[in-house]
Every structure is written in C-alpha cells, then in structure tokens.
C-alpha cells in the first residue's frame, strides 16, 4: 500500500464507488461446498474477482511424530498463490507475505475448530488462490471455514470474513483491489457470529479513533452477511438443490 494518491475517482458525487457499489455493499460472493475428489473436505469461493480453492485433510497422523501434541490436535494452514493469479507472474517460491497470511488465517480458525477432540493428529487446510483481487485473505478464510465443515471436522462456529476500509474519507465495506491500492485504509476482519468473537483483525492505513470504531462495526456487520452465504453453501450441498 505504498502509494495512496487518488489517481482515480474512488467515490463519485452520488456516493457510488469505482465499481458502482454503495458504501456498505459487498462484491458478488459465490461459495460452493465440496468439489474435490481426493480432499476430505473442500470449497470454492468467488469473492469479487477472487477465485480460491480450499482442500482439507484430516484429522490424520503427523509426521514427524514429535510435531504432534499429545493433548490436542494441531491445525496447519498453507495460503498459496498460483503464479498466474496476480498481475505480474508470481515467483513460485513461498513469499514472506504468504507465510504471514498462512499464520494469521490459522490463528483465526483455531478458536472455531474443536481440535481437542483429536489429540496427536493434524488437520491440514490448503488454500489455493487461483485469481487474486483485493481481499484474498478474507475470501480465503471464509472458504476455509466451509471446507472444514465440509470435511466433517467438529466446529464451535464458522469464521466469516470481509474487509472494512476507508476511501475518499468514507468508511466502506469490502475493499476491492483499486480501493486497496489507492484508498486510505484496509481493515480485514474475521468474525464468529455465534460466539461473537473477532479472530482475524489487521489494519493498514490511517484512521482516527472514531473511524477505527466505525470500521470495526461495519466489518462485523459485513461478516454476518458473509456468514449467511457460508451456511447456504453447506445447505445447498447437504440438504438442498444442487442445481446451481
């Protein structure tokens, strides 16, 4: 987020954003539970122009043994971007950014997963970003929750995620790529609606204390919207019409 000069009109006189959305309107979100044959659970999400695939394996044995925990299961998360997922072809080696996001998503999922039921084992979550737009980490976290549920892993709640932010001095929901590049602040939030807990929170960009408070509120409200779509995806697979 090096350059934040407004090189484009991020919000017009009618309060419409560069992609035509209103301030509190998320991008198009499509979530599908399942889809992969070999994974124990999987999901696919399109969140704006993000396209992300998640596969889950486990609970399964840990190698080498000394990495396992005799008291609880462990969660392992890998967030990974394909070389063709971004503007300029990405070097295949894992970047420091990918390692940090893997850790942040892992810690966001931990409180949701009942790992204590599976001591000595591991649950592996593999996140593959096929196409990246602004907000991959929120989309990835949202999809990962669904894939864990699809794998039948016992969960206390699901984590829904979306970013709040600030653009043209206005607090908005769901920062897209242009708004992330040219905007004033980006605050990804992961939230468990039933347990009322924020499990992912980051911020880049300057906010007054008031704006900070408002961003958190807007983000939590957005997560509740995303949560409904997560439930619908699981419903569609397990109980509903699979036509779509």
């Amino acid at each position: 987020m090096g350059g934040r000069e407004a090189t484009m009109v991020l919000m017009d006189e009618n309060g419409k954003r560069c992609d035509g959305r209103t301030v509190d309107e998320p991008r198009r979100i499509m979530i599908k539970a399942g889809g992969l044959k070999n994974a124990d659970g999987s999901s696919y999400i399109e969140f704006g122009d993000n396209k992300i695939l998640v596969g889950v394996f486990g609970p399964r044995d840990v190698h080498p043994k000394h990495m396992s925990d005799t008291d609880t299961g462990i969660l392992r998360v890998r967030y990974h971007m394909e070389p063709f997922s971004v503007g300029e072809r990405k070097n295949p080696a894992p970047s420091r950014r990918e390692i940090e996001i893997s850790k942040v998503i892992k810690e966001a999922l931990e409180p949701a997963v009942m790992l204590e039921k599976f001591p000595r084992t591991a649950v592996d979550v593999f996140i593959e970003v096929l196409q990246a737009d602004g907000g991959t980490r929120c989309a990835a976290l949202t999809a990962a929750s669904v894939a864990l549920a699809d794998a039948g892993i016992p969960m206390r709640d699901m984590v829904a995620a979306i970013a709040a932010g600030k653009v043209a001095d206005t607090v908005i929901l769901d920062v897209n790529n242009e708004e992330d590049q040219a905007g004033q602040a980006d605050m990804p939030i992961g939230y468990m609606p039933n347990l009322e807990k924020i499990t992912l929170l980051q911020l880049d960009g300057v906010l007054t204390p008031e704006e900070y408070k408002k961003c958190v509120q807007v983000g939590v409200d957005g997560c509740k919207l995303v949560y409904e779509l997560q439930k619908k995806a699981l419903n569609d697979k397990y109980f509903g019409n699979k036509g779509d």
């Binding site: 992969l36 044959k37 070999n38 994974a39 999987s42 122009d49 396209k51 695939l53 998640v54 596969g55 394996f57 399964r60 890998r78 990974h80 394909e82 070389p83 063709f84 997922s85 503007g87 300029e88 072809r89 295949p92 592996d124 593999f126 593959e128 096929l130 196409q131």
Partner: protein
C-alpha cells in the same frame, strides 16, 4: 504417488486379471483415453487459461505473457516456459516444499512436448532484438489427482495457449511500452497432443488412471503434432519395452492424439 502396500498388490492382480480378458477396471478399451473436459478462460485475468479434467484428474493452467530479457545467445527469439506443480490439496500424499524428481520430470516433459512441436513461433515474440522479447509462461497446477498428469497438464497448457491473447508492446525510450487496449493473437503453428501409455504385464494401455498408474511396470509419453508427426517422447518407469512395443506405441499415440486434437480445437472455438 508410488507406494507398495498389500492393497496395491491386490489391485494390481485384479487389473492384470481383467487385462488378460482385454478389459480395464473402469470399462474402457485398452487404447481408449478417459473423458476429457476443457473449460477455457477459467482465469479471466490471465492472458489465457484452461481448466481440464481427464477422468478425475483435474488441472488448471494459466498463461502469463509479459516482456522479458532474451537469453544471451538467442536475442532474436521470445521465451516459452511451461511449468507444472502438484498442489497439496490434489492428493493426501502430496507434500509441500521444493519439487521432487517426479514433479521436475513432469514439468520438463510437458514443456518439451509443446516446445519441440514449435507450437509457439517464438521468432515472432521479439520487441527489440537482443534487448527485449515477449515471454509466454504456461503454469499448470494439479488440483485433483487420478493418474496420468503428463497428458492432463499437456492438454491444459495447450488449451490455455490456444485461448490466449497477447498484449502489445512497443520499444520506446529504451524500454518495452504497453500499447493500451490492443491485443494480438499468440503465434500458433501446430497443436501438439501428448498420449501416455502404460505397460502392465504384457499389456499396453492408454491414459492410465490412478490405480493403473500405481500398478504399471513402465510408461511412455509420445507427443505428435497436427501433421501426424512425432515430436517428443519420454519413456519412464522401472521396466523396459520391446522394440515392437515402441513402434506400436508410436502408432497408437498418433491415432489417439488426432481425436484429442479435435477436442482441443472445439474448446478453442467454444472459447471464442
């Protein structure tokens, strides 16, 4: 991918027994590939892309086209590079980390099949001789594994390349400069098709699925071009072929390849 448990042994026996009767576990004839389904433009932001299923093996390929520096001794040619990676969600045994010899071989064989066919005319990918050329990168990622990645990746890369449009650059002020809003075709000269065959016992089968792959004695991947010529070949596996079998595999590959080439053309037309 290659483990040797009692179950594997039983599976191999079952596969062999059926083959003695001229049959395969999934009902196909010996020289019949699995159903191929091709979705092009699966990654709209890439310059070209395809999502290919070969039976239950699934591969996504994205093509990126961007300016690059030429190799020192070939300043009059652009670059073509094709890679392949097994994503860990594609199978429980796949590990993360640097690629092992099997994945390196996979990537190099897929790359070579396309490169040696001269599918992409790299002499047309020059922005400024010796200074700047166009690089075409076709990156395959395997998202579901059920055997025969060689062909699945090759079809995905070929379909993605056929679907590609290239941005245009001019040489301005000693630097490649994007011409906004213009797109050109990628220079395509032929459509290579790889056909992989496995030898199990004395039987040669086309497009082995996951169980057949784990049971095979040796394999051979042969790529043919639109003229019905053979342009690349790789033998693998811990056993050998007779000279007659090698000749027979060449014939099968050209015949089966022709049918799959039609599907690639359909996908190209469908995608346009």
């Amino acid at each position: 991918m290659a483990s040797h448990t009692v179950i594997d042994e039983l599976k191999r026996n079952q596969i062999l027994e059926l083959l003695e009767q001229g049959k395969r576990v999934d009902g196909r004839s010996l020289d019949e590939p699995r159903e191929v389904s091709i979705e092009t433009n699966a990654i709209p932001k890439a310059n070209g892309s395809a999502r290919v299923r070969l039976g239950d093996t699934e591969v996504v390929c994205g093509v990126k086209i961007q300016p690059d520096r030429p190799f020192p001794d070939t300043g009059d040619k652009g670059l073509f590079i094709c890679t392949a990676e097994l994503l860990p969600l594609s199978h429980p045994t796949v590990e993360t980390g640097p690629p092992g010899p099997e994945v390196i071989e996979l990537a190099r064989v897929v790359d070579r099949g396309i490169r040696e066919s001269h599918m992409i005319d790299v002499s047309q990918l020059v922005i400024e001789k010796d200074k700047s050329v166009i690089g075409v990168f076709a990156d395959n990622v395997v998202v579901d594994y059920d055997g025969n990645l060689f062909d699945a990746c090759s079809y995905a890369a070929t379909a993605a390349l056929l679907s590609s449009k290239s941005p245009k650059w001019n040489w301005v002020d000693d630097a490649p400069t994007l011409v906004e809003g213009e797109e050109v075709d990628v220079p395509i000269t032929t459509i290579p098709v790889s056909v992989t065959m496995a030898k199990i016992g004395k039987h040669i089968i086309v497009d082995p699925n996951g169980d057949e792959w784990a049971s095979m004695d040796a394999r051979i991947t042969i790529t043919s071009d639109s003229n019905g010529n053979i342009c690349a070949l790789q033998k693998g596996g811990d056993d050998g072929f007779t000279q007659d079998e090698i000749v027979q595999c060449g014939e099968i590959s050209v015949r089966v390849g022709a049918k799959i080439r039609e599907k690639l053309k359909e996908a190209q037309q469908g995608g346009q």
